[in-house]
């Protein structure tokens, strides 16, 4: 039951962010879908007890792969599908806690939260970059194998 609620709210929140960023109208639904996939992976992994940093990495990795596939299908820049999807992963809570502790003069605790927020941001970015490189390899391999197939067919 809980997971169905999470599915629905993650769709609406991502689509709302997509409206703010003014994505092309016909991709609004797909942007929401990318957000749902990313959030559900993050949610399930953290519920199973995985660390937030690792979960952010895997989630943004999948987001970038789905976004890449959509970008090829719609012939649009990939960034359209990524941006709304990764917003829920941004460590707003951690940054907030860091700020609160600094204001309360507890600098050590604040630094700890701040460092964690920094790590999560790094994990999100690594996920995006790894997925992008992987997809480049995959599509290059597909293209070259297709070319080989065509050559052998001609013979």
């Amino acid at each position: 039951m809980d997971i169905i609620v999470q599915l629905i709210v993650s769709f609406f929140s991502t689509a709302g962010i997509a409206i703010i960023f003014n994505v092309p109208r016909k991709t609004l639904f797909h942007c929401g879908f990318v957000g749902v996939i990313g959030w559900i992976i993050y949610y399930l992994l953290t519920e199973r007890g995985m660390d937030v940093v690792d979960a952010s990495f895997f989630s943004s990795f999948i987001i970038a792969i789905v976004a890449h596939l959509y970008a090829r299908r719609f012939k649009m820049p990939m960034i359209i599908f990524i941006v709304a999807g990764i917003i829920p992963l941004v460590p707003g809570g951690m940054a907030y806690n860091a700020m609160r502790n600094v204001v309360e003069d507890d600098y050590l605790q604040g630094l700890q939260y701040g460092l964690k927020a920094f790590l999560i941001t790094g994990a999100i970015v690594m996920g995006l970059v790894f997925a992008e490189v992987l997809m480049q390899f995959v599509f290059r391999a597909v293209r070259s194998s297709k070319a080989k197939l065509r050559k052998s067919y001609k013979k």
Binding site: V5, Q6, V9, S10, F12, S13, T14, A15, G16, I17, I19, I20, F21, N22, V23, P24, R25, W39, Y43, K75, M76, P77, I79, I80, I82, V83, A84, I86, I87, P88, V90, G92, G93, A95, Y96, N97, M99, R100, V102, V103, E104, T121, V125, L128, V129
Partner: protein, 250 residues
């Protein structure tokens, strides 16, 4: 010879306009350079050079031709414009449309405002804030508070952006509004968890596209643009954080 040079002028105008629109709408710098060079090559400018940063573009044709510069002062996030320019450049490079048509189309893209009406954007921001509250494990009883705080925060951001060019100020005020709405909601018993209400209502203000672009530019080897965008993202985050700190210190 004369007409040939005039042709070049039109092509360079067209390229610079395309690059300008893309940067003003928040595209990655390496993609802007890539698009401009592809368009140039389709117009038989084989040794064209292009250098784009978030604040300006330099484009040169080679030894004999003059180099052109366009400077860019303001940037927003408008993914629709990016995709429209992308489609124009795709059609130009595969010679489906002519250079003149592409230039006209780009000019109309630059003039048009593709954003949805403000009330729809504010509603979207408000709905997103409410949904974020549920995603961050808040209770449904706090939903109205987050909805209102997120909506008013985003409305403030838009209104003050119209009044002043200083982005730092508008972001600071917007999150100040978010924080005070959340604070008073909790004080008068319309909400329970101040932390979760603030975190979720601030989400529409988070510079997501800047962070993504900064890193993708850095990874593509465009260190200048990457660092510049990173600085812009840091400023935004700092504005939000300091406003929240003001609220929390009460």
């Amino acid at each position: 010879m004369q007409s040939h040079e005039a042709d070049n002028e039109l092509t360079i105008d067209c390229l610079l306009l395309a690059g300008r629109i893309m940067i003003e709408s928040g595209a990655e710098t390496y993609r802007v350079e890539d698009t401009m060079l592809r368009m140039a090559q389709s117009q038989n400018m084989l040794d064209a050079q292009c250098y784009a940063t978030p604040t300006g573009i330099i484009f040169s044709l080679g030894k004999t031709q003059p180099t052109r510069i366009t400077s860019i002062s303001s940037r927003v996030t408008d993914l629709q414009k990016i995709s429209l320019v992308n489609s124009v450049s795709r059609r130009l490079t595969s010679h489906i449309i002519s250079l003149e048509d592409a230039y006209d189309e780009l000019k109309s893209i630059q003039k048009t405002n593709y954003f949805l009406p403000i009330y729809i954007q504010v509603f979207a921001a408000a709905l997103a804030s409410g949904c974020f509250l549920i995603m961050f494990k808040g209770g449904w009883s706090d939903f109205p508070a987050a909805f209102i705080a997120g909506g008013f925060g985003f409305l403030t951001l838009i209104l003050i952006n119209h009044l002043t060019k200083v982005k730092f100020f508008s972001e600071f005020t917007a999150s100040l509004i978010v924080g005070s709405i959340a604070f008073f909601a909790v004080k008068f018993n319309y909400g329970t968890e101040l932390d979760k209400i603030i975190i979720s209502s601030v989400m529409p203000l988070v510079p997501g596209i800047l962070i993504t672009n900064a890193v993708r530019d850095l990874m593509a080897g465009h260190f200048m643009s990457g660092m510049a965008k990173g600085a812009e993202a840091f400023l935004t985050a700092f504005a939000i954080g300091s406003a929240i700190a003001v609220i929390l210190s009460f």
